[in-house]
Amino acid sequence: MMSSLIKKIGGGLVMAMISLFAHAEHQINFPAPVTEIGRQVYDLHIITMWIIVGIAVVVYGAMFWSLLKHRKSVGYKPATFSHSTALEIIWTTIPFIILIAMAYPATKSVIAMKDTSNADMTVKVTGYQWKWEYDYQQDGFKFMSVLSTPRDQIEGKEAKGADYLLEVDNPMVVPVNKKVRVLLTANDVIHAWWMPEFGVKQDAIPGFIRDTWFKVEKPGTYRGQCAELCGKDHGFMPIVVVAKEQADYDKWVAEQKAKAAAAADTGKDRSKEELVAAGEKIYAANCAGCHQPHGEGMPPVFPALAGSKIVNGPAAGQIDIVMNGKPGTAMPAFAKQMSDGDVAAVITFTRNSWGNKAGDVVQASEIKASRK
């Protein structure tokens, strides 16, 4: 334990030294904005920084001059003055004027940021512990967006990908050059939807809606993160927005509508192998955060599923907990978050893994029946 710790730190130190000298360029400013608001924020920050640099030169200049010249060791004789009304008036009023000059452009940007009127489309975004739901209400479909970085990468068992922790299974997709209004709410605790390249950050508050907007000017994939501490996996609920040309966007919407229609149909029964394979992926995305990759849980807060009485008991009991949650605990109700097929698959997976010997198969039709 100790030696591996030392090895880790030592290795890190060496890497730190190498990388510090190897990388000539680091990101030391805002990422390049792709919206009008983002650009305003970027410019405002640059202007402010230059004003600050100016003040800093004066303040630190005077300070260092004084530190060099007015020291006893060079034989400087102390003056005795202790106030100067003229000076004090000057250094009260000048900062005041500078601040007014800075407040003016800031005010204009604030008003622009808050103007959500005349949007071309609206997407309702809901924060969950710890994922986002995007609801395209006008088009009648919605989906969950969950971190897709494998746990093995997080735990250092495999090399980290380029978009480590900033990748999701289903990104939000928007058309370029359209004003998109985002309606935000949350299901459990406060989250915050932050997209640095858009200059957008808005808290999502359970029980209330808030709105914000953006109009992306360049097609591309943009990545952000939840910005308000929302519990255990706050650092693991990224936001990915893909901006597409209108034609591509329309195609995507048509696909989503077709998918939504397909999901509503529970279809025919799947084999145990199919269910377990599908369930494993769903488990990794939705359950492993608390119940752990191998079902060992983190007692007492997150119970183990391996060897659990409920998982090895009658299927109905497990279906009830997965669908309706367990009041007073962190276990959410998945009835509204997952399709019948997904719930069936994940339950079948847990009942047939890690030494659990329930051995039975739960089909989507049973889940559908439980909803009645």
């Binding site: 510090l20 030391i28 003056a79 601040l99 800075m102 407040a103 605790v189 640095p196 993160q225 650092g235």
Partner: protein, 518 residues
């Protein structure tokens, strides 16, 4: 005053029953030093996990617990009690009073602290571990805490009570116990800043107590102050919390201003520039601090008018704060400076606090803040004002008054080493965090994207340098208590306040006959 002389109990009972302001001051200082190391260790745990991408050492929940307890204990256990310790030692000495006005109350207000600290520290051992929702205690996340959620609320109540009792004592002492001739406008600036701070504490600590009490009844007695399902509003907690929280920031910095305003004139051998304007600037900062709270909440979705108001009011605070910085510079200007450790820490404070003030202006601007809110930029900003602000002045004050407290000179070489290593470690830790925030790294995350790796590594290395450096301070203090060159009544050439007229170490009872101030 009312107690007889020299028959105080010895051993542990001396400290349990003491009503002597110097004893209680020392207790406060030792307590806060312990808490500083405890919370500092938690911070090193945070930086250890953030040393490289990926989860290496702990679970995400543990990480959140570390950030939460680090913040909570540093604020309420380390910084605030340390300033109260200084107040206890120095205010009676500086105004020529024999003791604090209410000595027994003084004893109680200290002994409440270990009780609260025990509640916080033992919460590590209860089922579910300590609270993990951030030191700001925001609901509804707070409701997900286990039993530690209640322990923390009680701890906050007790800490608040301790602060309130301490503040009452300080105000009464300053108003009723000044030596003849010590008019308000002759009080040393440290006394003035504490006078104003104590009023701030009385105004806002009860508000925090109210907020956490509402949370407690929401948790157990079926009220719905902050619960939307029962007609409450979670954002309301944020408003109440920051109504306390923003003045709290100034509670931690105003006494620091006072300490620096004592030290710089001493080592510049020149009177403090603009005493009167310093007093007024302190008062106006205190008043403004109570009407700007919502600048911590620019992203909750306030209407434009509210955002604009809070932006303008916040920017306004830069004016009196600027006045203070300019006054310190003018005090140094054309002085005959020497650079002993207290002066080094004070100059470090002026330089770095100014930097924290600059980023404060950036953050005051709503559009920029919307980007930076809850990012590492904010983390960098408040550590520049709280570490290089409050903590550096605490060190400055400790080195400045150690000769008076112990009767010995501290080890100047080690003191200077402590300063320079702190300076390097601190800047290496927190300066890169500005860049992390600008590039888009949220705060309070246990793992991060690869693009943030280099600066985080730098930051972690800096943190370990800074953390271990603080052991030097403990060594210097212990060495100074044990011995060293005798200090004399007035070890600093330029000092002119009343505490330097009594012998070093300051006798157990001082100013039993009040001095007369001309």
């Amino acid at each position: 005053m009312e107690h007889g002389h020299d028959h105080h109990p010895s051993g542990i009972m001396r400290w349990v029953t003491t009503t002597n302001h110097k004893d209680i001051g020392s207790l406060y200082l030792w307590f806060s030093l312990c808490m500083f190391f405890f919370a500092g260790t938690l911070a090193l745990g945070i930086r250890l996990e953030l040393f490289q991408p990926g989860m290496q050492f702990m679970q995400p929940q543990t990480f959140n617990q570390l950030t939460t307890l680090h913040g909570l204990i540093m604020v309420f256990g380390a910084i605030m009690p340390a300033f109260v310790g200084f107040a206890n030692w120095q205010i009676p000495l500086m105004i020529g009073a024999p003791d604090m006005a209410l000595p027994r109350l003084n004893n109680w207000s200290f002994w409440l602290l270990p009780v609260a600290a025990t509640l916080l520290v033992t919460s590590f051992f209860v089922p579910g571990g300590p609270i993990a929702g951030g030191w700001t205690l925001y609901p509804p996340l707070y409701m997900q805490n286990g039993i530690s959620g209640d322990m923390t609320i009680f701890a906050v109540h007790i800490l608040g009570m301790s602060s309130i009792l301490g503040s009452i004592n300080i105000i009464v002492t300053i108003m009723n116990m000044r030596a003849p001739g010590m008019t308000y406008m002759k009080m040393p600036l440290f006394v003035w800043t504490w006078f104003i701070t104590a009023y701030l504490l009385i105004a806002v600590m009860p508000v925090l107590a109210g907020a956490v009490t509402m949370m407690l009844t929401d948790r157990h007695f079926d009220t719905h102050f902050f619960d939307a399902s029962g007609g409450g509003d979670p954002v309301m907690f944020q408003h109440i919390f920051w109504f306390f929280g923003h003045p709290e920031v100034y509670i931690m910095i105003l006494p620091a201003f006072g300490i620096v305003s004592s030290i710089i004139p001493t080592f510049a051998r020149k009177p403090l520039f603009g005493y009167t304007s310093m007093v007024y600037a302190t008062a106006s900062i205190a008043i403004l601090s109570m009407v700007v709270w919502a600048h911590h909440m620019y992203t909750v979705g306030m209407p434009v008018t509210a955002q604009l108001y809070f932006m303008y009011a916040t920017m306004l605070i830069a004016v009196p704060t600027g006045v203070k910085v300019f006054n310190w510079l003018a005090t140094m200007w054309q002085g005959a400076m020497t650079f002993e450790t207290p002066m080094l820490f004070s100059i470090g404070f002026v330089a770095l606090f100014t930097l924290g003030g600059f980023t404060g202006i950036v953050l005051a601007m709503v559009p920029v803040d919307v980007q930076l809110q809850d990012s590492y930029y904010v983390v960098a900003h408040f550590h520049y004002v709280l570490v290089s602000g409050s903590l550096f002045t605490l060190f400055a004050g400790a080195y400045y008054w150690l000769p008076k407290w112990t009767g010995h000179m501290y080890d100047e070489k080690l003191g200077k080493l402590h300063f320079w290593l702190s300076m390097i470690g601190f800047n290496l830790t927190f300066f890169p965090q500005h860049f992390l925030g600008l590039a888009g790294m949220p705060r309070r995350i246990p793992d991060y994207a690869l693009q943030f790796a280099d600066f985080n590594r730098m930051s972690s290395i800096g943190a370990f340098i800074f953390g271990t450096t603080q052991l030097i301070f403990v060594y210097v203090v212990i060495k100074c208590i044990r011995g060293g060159a005798p200090a004399g009544d007035k070890p600093w050439e330029g000092a002119d306040t009343l505490e330097w007229t009594v012998p070093s170490p300051a006798p157990y009872h001082t100013f039993e006959t009040p001095p007369v101030v001309k």
